[in-house]
Structure formats: structure tokens, C-alpha cells
């Protein structure tokens, strides 16, 4: 969508409880590790801001944050 700002997301490994909400919502961006059960960002970690906001809102450990705005998409 035009004008949708892209932001970069990050996971705080200390706070992550491996609940998997992020992986459910954005499987292209988050993956929970099998052994440690800690989520991490795969790839660039870029998401449109409204979708990033949903992940932040739904993360049960308050471990996902928006680290910086990226360039606006065309």
C-alpha cells in the first residue's frame, strides 16, 4: 500500500518466553528456536508499521519492539 511506513522489529531474548505469537502472526519474520524456545528475527525484520504494532501488542512477554523506522515504501 502506498505510504505505508516500514519499520524494523527486534526480539529481546531475555524477555522472550517462546510463546510463538510472533511466529503465528508473521511467520516470514519470526522463528522460535526449537531448543532454546527463544524467538528471533529472520531476514531483514521489516514490517509495515500496523502489522508490527499488532505483533508488539500480542507478544505475551513484551519482548518484541520496533527499533527504527525504515524508508517509506513507494
Amino acid at each position: 500500500m502506498s505510504g505505508t511506513e516500514l519499520v524494523r522489529v527486534a526480539v529481546d531474548a531475555e524477555r522472550c518466553i517462546g510463546g510463538g505469537q510472533c511466529e503465528m502472526l508473521e511467520p516470514e519474520v519470526f522463528l522460535v528456536d526449537d531448543d532454546e524456545a527463544i524467538s528471533s528475527v529472520v531476514g531483514s525484520g521489516a514490517l509495515p508499521r500496523p502489522r508490527a504494532d499488532v505483533v508488539v501488542h500480542r507478544c505475551p512477554g513484551a519482548a518484541v519492539s520496533i527499533v527504527e523506522p525504515q524508508r517509506p515504501s513507494e
Binding site: I17, G20, E23, P27, L31, D33, D34, E36, A37
Partner: protein, 420 residues
Amino acid sequence: MSPSAASTPTLAPEIADPRLYLDGIPHERFAEIRAMPGLAWHPYGDNGFWAVTRHADVRAVSRNPKVFSSAIGHTNLWDLEADALEARRSLIDTDAPDHTRLRRMVAGAFTPKNIRRWEDAVREITVELLDEFLAEGGGDWVEMVAAPLPIRVILSMLGVPVADGGYLVELSNYLVEGTSDTQSLPPDAFGNTTELRLLPFNSPASHALFEYGDEMRSKRRAEPCDDLVTHLVKAEAEGGRISRHEYRHLFHLLVFAGNETTRTAISHGAMALAAHPDQWQRVVDDPDLVEPATEEIIRWATPVLHMRRTAAADCELAGTPIAAGDKVVMWYASANRDEAAYTDPFRFDVGRGDNEHFAFGGGGPHLCLGAFLARLEVSVLLQEMAARRMLLEQRGEPVRVASNFVHGVLSVDMAPGWGP
């Protein structure tokens, strides 16, 4: 202590009496509490609790575990003596960092990706149960479908032999009794010698489940397999990342929670589909509705009615001052029918969008470990029922559990039919 403030708080109508729940959730009482200003105080025993009933307030409590602790007092309505609390402490009754450490021991098995690996196994069990149900011309849906489906799946994950499934369901049923006023077991059942107050759900069935878990532990120590018990046994052996006590309670929790809660969702789900054939027809006609229908069934069922937290410090919620030590009870059953969070919350709508329900917890770190497994089980069941163009017709009233904690159904008679 409390209500602490100088002002007298609003008193909530009775919602803790387990007998109220024999006729279903007392929704009109919860609606009354949701409409009260601030938080309402509910007398209970020689003390009481703050009744948190609105969706936004439940979320605020659930997501602030530093203030609203799971480790103090108990996560059920009544307090436990200090020694009983320690003896009974499980993942449910811990805060970070213990909660985070324990949860990560098992959380890897329950991620969306890893739960998807169980889809074929879940489908095979579902097909077998549905075919039996149809061949028999129906019967008790709980006994024939809702109970065996989740227990067989969790036992496969744990590595428990199928032949022991019936015994573990029986134990789990006795544990549910422990949440109500009735206990049909004598204290020394299953060879129990532990004081009941030191056992989860005050039940000698907990002793039996611990014993069973210990046997599994010995077997997997001798002969490791690719299952959850082996994983936990390794974690215990490898430098004590998990204690013996923690192992026993995790095993207990996985069996109980993996059995009781999804059974409840599938029981209420069947009743909802029988009562709303138009909604079921939508799912049959459109496979894309399986996912939102699954969420709606889980919201509708709300298998766990509440969880309690205890204030670790003086604080405020919804404008009401709360004192350190006060009990704060999140009523998921109410939040999931909050008019402020849902359009027409009492409508069963398989196409409901953006359904942020609190049937897996209130949004905080104690999120149901088995959430994705429960979703898989319900959605595979819906797919297989739809593939058969199967209808359900409810015969008579369900037998409900007298409990303010679990929204349990003991039995409900269902007859199958076929759609156009």
C-alpha cells in the same frame, strides 16, 4: 485486610459459588460487574478478591506480572499455606525468571512450526473417533470424541503408551473434581500417603499422576526416545536445568492441561455448532472459515474461567486502589463477552474477525503453552466434520461441572446427521 482504601468499594454479585456454574456461566452477573465503576470487590472466605471482568483490565493485569504476581499466595481463589504452596508449585504459579526458564524447557515443542508436524497424527486420531461416533449413531460426545482426541495427542507427544490413555483420563477427571466441592476419592486412593493439602487439586489422583510420571522418567532414562519426557529427563540430567520437583509438576500439568481444556473447547464447540446450524453451514461451504471458526469456538468455550494474581505492591487499576497482598482475579469468562471488546459478543459468529480472545490467558507471559495444539485439534476436527458434511443434533441438556474454575462438561448426548 482490604478493601484497603478508606472509601467503601462496590460489591460484586456472587460469582464464586461453584453451584452457579451448573447452569452455565452466570453471564448476566458478569455483565453487571463490567458495568460497575472501577473494580468491584467480591467477598470470599474470610477475605475477598477484586473481580477483574473487563477485557482491557484483564489484559492490564495479565501483562504486568511484576505487580500482579503468580508466585504469591496461589493462582486459585483460596490461599495456600506456605508449605502447601511450595509443594504444589508448578509453571502456573511462578514468575520470571523461574517461569521463563521452566517454560523454555518445553515451549520449543509447542511452537506453531513444531505443532504443525503433528497434523497428520491429529487427523488420524480424529478420523478414527468420528468414524466410530458415526458408526454408533452418536452418543456421549464427551466420552466418544472430546475427551479421547486431546488426551491421545498429548500422550503421543509425551511418549505415553496408548493403552494407558484411559487411566490418565480417569485421573484427570478426578483432578477436575478437586476444583469443585465434591471429591469422590478417599484420601488414600491410589496408595496415596501424602496429606491432600500438599497435592495439586487436593486430590490423591495427583499422587497417582506423579507416580506415573516417575515411572515414565525411569523408563526414558534407561531407554531414551524421541518424546517430551525424554527431553525433560535429559534437561534434568544435564546439570540440573530442571529439578525433580519441577519435572513431576510439568508432567502433571501437561497431562491435565493437555486433556481437560481442549476437551472442554470441543464439547462447547459441538454444542455451539448444534445450536447454530447456519454458522456450521458457513464452515462447510467455505474451508477458509475453519480458522476463524476455531478461534470463535475457543472464545465461546473459554475452558478456563479465571486465574488469580496477587498484588506484589500497592497499585491502581481502573481507578481503584489495590493494596499489596490483595487478590486480583481475571475473569476470562467475562472478558470474552465484553461489549467493549467485541461486536455483539453473545453472537456465535464463525466469521468473526480480529478475535483477540482471552481463552488462552489474558495476553501476558502465562499464555497457554498448548494454544497452537488446541487450535490444531479443533481445526482438524472441523475440517473432518465438514468433509463428511456432518451435522450435530444435541439430545438433551449437558451435564456440567460444578466449578468456578473450569467450564467443564461431563457429558452431552449428540446425534449425527448429514447436510445437503
